[in-house]
């Protein structure tokens, strides 16, 4: 359990939090620019001192204004990947990497440097690295210090797409391998969705939503962040069975509904998370006999939300406790004569799936 | 043991160097000298400096040490005497001047003298000017040097047309000329007292005596000093 119960006035911004985070998994910290994300993790790391309150990491009370506890940063065992890389300019990359590395496990060193693609840089000085190279070294340096908690401030923002894609799975693995909580600041909903188990929404220094990702995702606080075109639902499911011939996996939703997805290498019953974008869901009155779309569900129209302009609409569909959204044009809605309660077939063209076997809470 | 050490007022530098060399040659004993302001040397001796012989530029600092019992009182004797000279810079024209006509000749220029507040040469100069009733009219036209050398330098560099310095310095100056010697009757006798420092090494006595020898006297005289005995002899 990680408890952050603090107050801090920064200029006109008053940071005030009272949150508990699980001691495992990735928690995303999400909010506007200037909402206090960096300040909050600085408070946790001990780089800023709260005006009052307490911070507990596991059994370790690192700050308590009443008991006058205020552990210095180096005693908090927190890894920090800064928004700017902050590599030590006078040390070679290899020395930077080993700065906080006490155990000096050569295998771990090799794995991490290879993964981050920084092996060829080891003998260089930071000044000659490009922005992305610097950030990769900074991530490696924090990982190698074997922290008991990791704070990451937009660590992927300066990476290019292939590197991002390459790093992602490693970050995903991170929590299963090392049993430490990660607090992850990001502006990218995609990143958050792929990585995070918990989501904290911060606005003007206050936590306005906090909880398991799927929950916060569908909360009203999240709406401003989801552009109409990005409207989506997040569903929790369990692995049901594998297709005998094709590399496909069936997922069981709550109420006997089942969806096919590209093969997931996991055992039955493994919990997974699905994200289905409204724009990937099309509606037909009668499904085609032969279609490339694998997932066609019979659902009931629950409500229709017209966009501000009235040109498009978001159809909320229901099947038992499962809800999905479909985004279609008004023209199509009229043609289909959509009305609340109507039964219709939802064709789901795509979805993103993340195995959630590591997440105890979900 | 450490070599014999003489603490001497800095105006004695080259004369004393030569005397020490002569003594070294004769007695095969090493002598070293430390030259600085008489004041600094006196304070150092008072605080236990490793000196055997002290030669001051006037009696004030010798008296200070004798009060402190830092010198062997019985050994205090005048060693040398000096006199003052009015000099003119080589940059200055050759119109005739005397001490008395100085105030009218200075115009906007200054007269260089050693600081009358504390430098011995300055104190004697002040006495002489006072005796001549010139002090009041010259008081505000004085460029006060921190010692005789820097006073001489002001004249040599033409900063001031005239200056009053020791005769010993004036004689050796290449860039100034002596206009007149100032009569010794106008000020207290300018004497350089010598003393054995309280904890002097036994061999120091020999050097002390050598400083009064004719051999040393010849050297001192060559640099323009007058041996104290001579003055007394003259008076007699």
């Amino acid at each position: 359990m990680l408890t952050i119960q603090i107050k801090k006035q920064l200029g006109t911004l008053a940071i005030e939090t009272d949150i508990h985070l699980p001691e495992q998994g990735i928690t995303a910290l999400f909010g506007r620019s200037g909402s206090g994300k960096t300040s909050l993790i600085n408070l946790i790391a001990g780089l800023l001192t709260p005006d009052g309150g307490s911070i507990t990491i596991g059994n370790n009370r690192v700050f308590d204004s009443k008991q006058k506890i205020n552990r210095p940063p180096e005693q908090r065992h927190i890894g920090y990947v800064f928004q700017d890389a902050r590599l030590f300019p006078h040390l070679k990359v290899i020395t930077n990497l080993n700065y906080g590395n006490k155990e000096k496990d050569p295998d771990q060193f090799k794995i991490i440097t290879r993964l981050l693609g920084i092996e060829p840089l080891l003998q260089r000085y930071p000044a000659s690295l490009s922005g992305g190279e610097k950030q990769r070294v900074a991530i490696g340096r924090a990982l190698l210090s074997n922290p008991s908690m990791l704070l990451m401030d937009e660590p992927l923002a300066s990476l290019d797409t292939p590197r991002k894609a390459e790093l992602m799975p490693y970050l995903e693995q991170l929590t299963t391998e090392v049993n430490i909580p990660i607090l992850y600041v990001s502006h990218s909903l995609d990143e958050i969705l792929r990585l995070a188990d918990q989501l904290i929404l911060i606005d003007q220094g206050k936590i306005i939503a906090n909880g398991p990702l799927a929950e916060v995702w569908s909360s009203p606080q999240m709406t401003p962040w989801q552009a109409e075109q990005d409207a989506s639902v997040v569903l929790e499911a369990k692995l049901s069975h594998q297709h005998p011939d094709y590399a496909m996996t069936a997922l069981a939703l709550d109420n006997n509904l089942s969806l096919w997805t590209t093969r997931i290498d996991a055992t039955e019953k493994t919990p997974v998370r699905l994200r289905i974008y409204a724009k990937d869901v099309s509606l037909v009155k009668q499904p085609s006999e032969q279609s490339s779309i694998r997932n066609i569900l019979s659902m009931t129209v629950d409500s229709i939300e017209y966009s501000d302009s009235g040109d498009t609409c978001l159809v909320n569909l229901q099947a038992g406790r499962i809800q999905i959204k479909s985004s279609i044009t008004r023209w199509a809605a009229d043609e289909l004569g959509l009305a609340k309660g109507q039964t219709i077939f939802a064709q789901i063209k795509g979805m993103s799936v993340t195995p959630k076997d590591r997440v105890p809470g979900l | 043991a450490r070599p014999l050490t003489v603490f001497a007022a800095s105006s004695l530098t080259n004369a004393m160097n030569e005397v020490a060399a002569a003594y070294q040659k004769e007695s095969n004993t090493k002598v070293i000298s430390s030259y600085a302001a008489s004041s600094a040397l006196a304070r150092q001796i008072a605080s236990g400096a490793p000196a055997d012989i002290y030669i001051a530029a006037n009696h004030r600092w010798m008296d200070y040490l004798s009060e402190q019992r830092s010198v062997n009182n019985a050994s205090i004797k005048p060693l040398l005497q000096n006199s003052l000279a009015l000099i003119a810079s080589n940059f200055t024209g050759t119109q005739p001047v005397t001490l008395k006509s100085l105030p009218s000749k200075l115009n906007n220029d200054y007269l260089a003298i050693a600081d009358p507040d504390h430098v011995p040469a300055g104190i004697y100069t002040k006495q002489a000017l006072q005796s001549l009733q010139l002090w009041e009219s010259l008081k505000l036209k004085l460029a006060r040097g921190q010692n005789v050398r820097s006073t001489l330098l002001l004249v040599e560099r033409g900063e001031t047309p005239y200056g009053i310095v020791y005769r010993t310095d004036a004689i050796q100056s290449q860039h100034s000329r002596i206009i007149s010697l100032i009569p010794e009757s106008l000020h207290q006798p300018i004497s350089y007292p010598i003393a054995l420092v309280a904890n002097h090494q036994p061999e120091a006595l020999q050097l002390y005596n050598f400083l009064f020898s004719p051999q040393a006297r010849a050297i001192f005289t060559r640099y323009g000093f007058i041996m104290s005995e001579e003055i007394k002899a003259d008076a007699q």
């Binding site: 210095p72 800064f82 700065y99 000659s128 | 070293i32 600094a40 304070r43 050796q172």
Partner: protein, 228 residues
């Protein structure tokens, strides 16, 4: 080329200035760091104290040294009794005088450098588990190298030129305390010895110049490393 007299003064100046700077460096760096990084009551006072030797004429400093650190001085006699140390009329005293006169320059240069190092590197080091001491030695100190070098040269040059405090504190004893400036003084006091004084003057200049160029070169090497 150089007379024995000149060589002796030169070597002595080197020894005195070198030792003075060497021994000033650790306390100088420490004080600079404390002044650059921490706030505490009495900080301004400490800062002023460090600047004192700059404000006072060297002769006064020499006088104060004589009074306090001389054989009969309060501190001097204690040091002599307890540790058997004596600064009186030895090159060690000359080094002490030089060190005190040059100390404000050393501290100021290093402090200026330290103040310009972004604390973000120190913060990063602490999150990597380094305590303030390790941070100081592995991050702050190396990043300050150019400033330390600059301060060292400045202080060394000042030591080479030190005269008033030295002659007042430890007198002008050949081979022991007669450094280049004191030797120069002896010639200046001698009518007609301007040429000899000028020679010593040039020796002092060359000495300082060499140390300056050396520091420049070192500083460049250090900074090149940071940017390759």
């Amino acid at each position: 080329m150089l007379s024995e007299y000149e060589i002796s003064a030169l070597l002595l100046s080197l020894k005195v200035s070198g030792i003075a700077v060497l021994f000033s460096l650790p306390p100088g760096i420490l004080l600079a760091w404390v002044l650059a990084r921490y706030q505490f009551p009495g900080k301004s006072l400490l800062d002023s104290l460090i600047h004192l030797p700059l404000v006072l004429p060297p002769v006064v400093i020499g006088y104060l040294l004589l009074v306090s650190m001389g054989k009969q001085g309060i501190i001097g006699s204690a040091l002599n009794q307890w540790f058997g140390w004596s600064f009186s009329f030895s090159w060690r005293g000359a080094a002490l005088a030089a060190a005190i006169v040059a100390f404000p320059l050393l501290v100021k240069a290093i402090r200026l450098s330290l103040e310009n190092i972004d604390i973000k590197y120190e913060q990063a080091a602490r999150t990597l588990g380094a305590n303030p001491l390790k941070v100081f030695f592995t991050i702050s100190l190396p990043l300050t190298t150019p400033g330390i070098l600059a301060g060292t040269v400045l202080a060394f040059a000042r030591c080479i030129g030190e005269f008033g405090a030295t002659i007042t504190f430890v007198s002008n004893i050949p081979g022991e305390t007669r450094t280049l400036p004191l030797a120069m003084f002896s010639f200046i006091e001698t009518p007609g010895a301007e040429a000899e004084a000028a020679r010593l003057c040039i020796i002092a200049i060359i000495l300082a110049l060499t140390s300056l160029l050396l520091a420049d070169w070192l500083s460049k090497r250090v900074q090149q490393r940071f940017s390759h």
